[in-house]
Amino acid sequence: MKKLLSLTAALALVAGATFAVAELADGYVSVKPTAEDHPLDEVISGYQFRIESTRATQDDDFENPGMLLLDQALDTWSEADGAAGKSCADCHGDDPIVSMKGAGSTFPKFTEKGDHRAFRNIENQINFCRTERMEAKPWKYDKPDMLGMTILARHADRGEPVNVAVDGDAAAMFEKGKEIYYTRYGQLDMACSHCHEDNYGNYIRADHLSQGQINGFPTYRFKWQGVGSAHRRFKGCMKNIRAEPFNVGEEEFLALELYTAWRGQGLPIETPAVRN
């Protein structure tokens, strides 16, 4: 798929693995939409909507609390677990920042073959590896082990443009995600689009509405005093509009993850980002 990338994203591509998000601090983290039927004129990272001190925390890897989980995951990478006696490194090599390249920017997607073929995000792929390859217990969603390893897989692509496939067998998930995005939910009766398409840039009370981009997830949030997944954030939005949330890691949120990732196609991966 051909992409029209702004200077920011183009620089990110050139700089590759060593690209520092800090370089974006003075810039406007946005790209032009890559698809003709894209609903936005300009695709803007949530980074752009946050105050200077929040950005500064993200820009400094030593200050960014999400980096602690990354460090832990780098240790876990080479530790054997489960009945098969394998570690991540046994299949994927000793340097995940090299071997995981291309994962963070392209998930969620269909993976594996035959009976194992399914649409997965990184979290679900990690648990597939754990249960099928390592014969280990699955990790719980949004717990430190899972968050750390998800951050690691995404971080290997930091600075790379989001590049999810929405054609072929992913098309049905894309359509499902789009439908959810534009459906009103809850007692407040709002769709994602009401805040994040019609009103981004505006304030709702003290909240500066962003486009709801997920290129920085899992992200550290000051409100959470911790790191959380995109699905946790979706759940929080649904609770805010007084809706019964979908389940993390399950089909509705996987579809929404694909669709929102596509809305941010071309934005640099910022994981682990820092938000308010």
Binding site: D198, N202, I204, D207, E244
Partner: protein, 152 residues
């Protein structure tokens, strides 16, 4: 947007006992030409109570989306999503405000604004809010009374 569902639910319960035969139930309200002439309760709206609902994060939280110049000194963080409401009483009647508060989607199907006095037609409403209105009938009348004070 920080909502306090538990407190809100308590407020709702406190009012639940005061429903009278003369109160119009949400499903019985008829919006005609963008207006509801008949008040929802016998008791006239009170603008001071209306201001409490208007500004309260656990109540109407109207200020979350609507800017009001005269509230600038006393309340922080006015929203930018809705129409600024200074002078709004010169533009609409109480009956029109009532219709907008009850369910703005009869006039504006795509609006972000919630329906504040409706119990049906929601999709996946969370259990504790399912079948409940955001504001009570009296709170709707109180908010209308407050809005009617916003003249230029």
């Amino acid at each position: 947007m920080k909502l306090y569902p538990a407190l809100f639910a308590l407020a709702g319960l406190a009012y639940a006992g005061t429903v009278t035969a003369s109160e119009i139930a949400p499903d019985d309200v008829k919006i005609v030409d963008g207006a509801v002439e008949q008040p929802l309760t016998d008791s006239p709206g009170d603008p001071e109570r209306g201001l409490v609902s208007f500004t309260g994060r656990k109540a109407g939280n109207c200020l979350a989306c609507h800017y009001v110049e005269s509230l600038q000194d006393d309340y922080q963080f006015h929203g930018e999503v809705g129409t600024p409401l200074d002078g709004i009483a010169d533009a609409y009647t109480a009956a029109e405000f009532r219709a907008k508060l009850i369910n703005p989607k009869t006039e504006l199907p795509d609006t972000i604004m919630p329906a504040f006095y409706r119990t049906s037609g929601f999709n996946r409403a969370a259990g504790k809010f399912d079948g409940k209105t955001i504001l009570t009938a009296q709170e709707i009348e109180d908010v209308i009374a407050y809005l009617m004070t916003l003249k230029d």
